[in-house]
Subunit: 408 residues, 2 copies
């Protein structure tokens, strides 16, 4: 008699973004004339850059010709792509080798899957608020109890990130084993300084903890003093895994391509030298057959000089959107964070109303969709995320509506 993985029953509600989509669909059905503008999910809207389009066209053409057709590739990714990714890091002084690079179908998959090579008894620490996948994947894998009345899963360690600590957490007081950090942060838009990040690296080295560092938004950092990779910091190769993606920087949200870096020197309490790197290799060899060859060709092109120049324009477009959103919100007296080194503006809800009430209010009064801060964790309650991904005219229209139609 088969039985189910009862850890799934501990999950509350659905995954955040399908839930937003559902509420938005219901509103649209009840208000068929409403012109809804979506600044909720961080979904790219601008076209793929020409270098990527051209490379993917060529890859498809080659697959249609028997003399250039190719089948299975390495599950770790094509060597040329792994080399290009490693070179990007090396050019910025980050200590990354080609064999650290594991190409994947996106940062979401890696964020969710990496916990599998660690024991179920490991104590997981997350920034609060955080991208929901870190928490949900660990709940589903049995590393938590049920949710308590503070809206926290028992057994997980929540590290509050609020205006009071500039949205970067203090070091955990209890012993933790796996630490998820995201910088630039989704949803708060905060970026860890070198000193802040070094504090966590030192903690991890001292306690033999592992940091899972999500840098999917690193290319949006404008301030050259801020670290774009945890491997810019000494000691990180022994204690950190980094997760990154082409989704936001090259518009690959639907195209699907990402990578993680698992250093050969990574170690935990009971690992042999190199063992964790070998385990992740084995995990990918068994559970994954590599990212699409067509898509990998696009990734290589995105990392070429031409592709990088074109992607920088994309990023500049979204960062100007972020500036417009933040300026509009502040002009009507709303308190804002982020949006300067990240494509997300994080605002305090007005008059202390809760996040989902503000979601309904913004949708009802302005027909604008955002993301309730509480969807990212209990410390997100009373905050709200607006995404800078969007066409300029929609960002201008949405901010105009917020300025003129939102009752405060």
């Amino acid at each position: 008699m088969a039985t189910l993985n009862s850890a799934y029953r501990r999950l509350t509600a659905g995954y955040l973004f399908p839930e937003i989509a559902r509420r938005t669909r219901e509103f649209a059905a009840a208000n068929p004339d409403a012109s809804i503008l979506r600044l909720g999910i961080g979904d790219t809207t601008e076209a793929l850059v020409p270098a990527v389009v051209s490379a993917m066209q060529d890859a498809v053409t080659q697959l249609g010709d028997v003399s250039t057709y190719s089948g299975y590739g390495d599950s770790e990714g094509q060597t040329a792509l792994r080399e290009a990714i490693a070179a990007l890091y090396q050019s910025r002084g980050a200590d990354v080798k080609v064999e650290d690079v594991f190409v994947s179908d996106g940062a979401k998959s890696d964020s969710a899957n990496l916990q599998q090579i660690f024991d179920v008894s490991n104590v997981v620490a997350v920034q609060d608020p955080a991208y929901p996948v870190y928490v949900d994947s660990n709940v589903m894998s049995g590393r938590s109890g049920t949710k308590n009345n503070q809206d926290q899963y028992e057994g997980l360690v929540y590290m509050p990130c609020t205006a009071e600590n500039d949205f970067f957490p203090a070091l955990p007081e209890e012993k933790v084993d796996l630490i998820y950090l995201c910088s630039p942060n989704n949803p708060t838009g905060a970026v860890a300084s070198r000193e802040q990040l070094q504090g966590f690296v030192d903690y991890a080295l001292e306690h033999k903890a592992i940091i899972l560092f999500d840098s999917a938004y690193a290319e949006f950092i404008q301030d050259p003093e801020l670290p774009r990779s945890i491997f810019e910091l000494p000691g990180a190769r022994k204690c950190a895994i980094e997760i990154n993606s082409f989704s936001k920087t090259a518009g690959f949200t639907g195209v699907r391509l990402g990578w993680c870096l698992v250093p050969t020197e990574l170690e935990c309490e009971d690992s042999e030298p190199g063992e964790l790197h070998k385990m992740w290799t084995r995990r990918q060899n068994t559970f994954f057959n590599g990212a699409s060859n067509v898509v990998q060709a696009g990734g290589i092109a995105a990392l070429s000089d031409e592709g990088q120049a074109q992607c920088k324009e994309l990023i500049a477009h979204y960062m100007e959107n972020a500036r417009i959103i933040r300026e509009a919100l502040e002009s009507i007296g709303l308190e804002c964070f982020g949006g300067e080194n990240a494509p997300y503006v994080w605002m305090k809800t007005p008059a202390g109303i809760d996040s989902w009430s503000f979601f309904d209010k913004l949708l009802g009064e302005c027909n604008v969709v955002g993301t309730p801060g509480s969807g990212f964790g209990p410390s997100g309650e009373g905050y709200f995320r607006l995404s800078a991904f969007g066409h300029r005219e929609n960002i201008l229209e949405a901010t105009e509506r917020i300025k003129t139609q939102l009752s405060l």
Copy 2:
């Protein structure tokens, strides 16, 4: 102090195909003049069909134009693709609904991931020999002990498939919970009859077990009497999940696209109605962000009337290869199975030599790479798999070498 998932240490050797690649590389390095022909891994070699190439070109073009660009899609897959997949089944009398269909990046991922929604205590039964992913993913997830001296992981139930039972297993005598079946079978090339499959469906219904049915080679079935889907059989919607792929039928081994069918009626001992379907939805929403939109466009085209006609020609090409291989082997007195409704020929090694010795012998004497049967499980010992995927001239050359150079 982080600790690793020690279940990985129970795994013996590397994943089969990287191991074959490693041995082949070593041979090539030691014999630089050898012209090596690869009939090992089941990797497609012929070009993508024109309908698919054209659709993927169009998809890339659309992503390069802001007016037709699209980002995130549903993690379950595009509705048009889910509908086309369901329609394919329905046209053959299989009881499949659109909401059963979950599009993925390939059958390997689904084969490995589906076990996650079941409890770790479930007893897993596999055909022996079998595609290594079924066993390895369950070992890594903690459903086994270490390997015993019969080359079996303790705690897993091996269902021998040998010449004596026509390569289809008897019903398990012990209680099992999750049953992996593959038909047409990789590696043996055997296809379950309707009666054989119904026996397992009836067993699963009686014992509330779940069948994970891998039909990745269904399109290679030539005999119209043989079932191509488990959902052609009454009762299967309550007890079976089906896994399928575009890899072998449309040449998508490197392009990456597959699907699984999780019926809304699927149930196990402790599930609420519809719960397993909801759990898999939640799993995919959390761990996966959908297959590439470019690739899904190719999948839709492969299922169009034009695409289906073109893919049938591809399949006919590979099945003619299978006929050539089987005929050549039999002409020199080797005992062969499969190759008639599946793209794999399964042969008994000559003079009782073991599978890896025959691998070395075939590579050394003929410079032909095959796959040792023992790599698929202990009952595969003394057998050897040759893949029919390949260019015709290579298949002819390889079989000619086998006929003239192999010492028996």
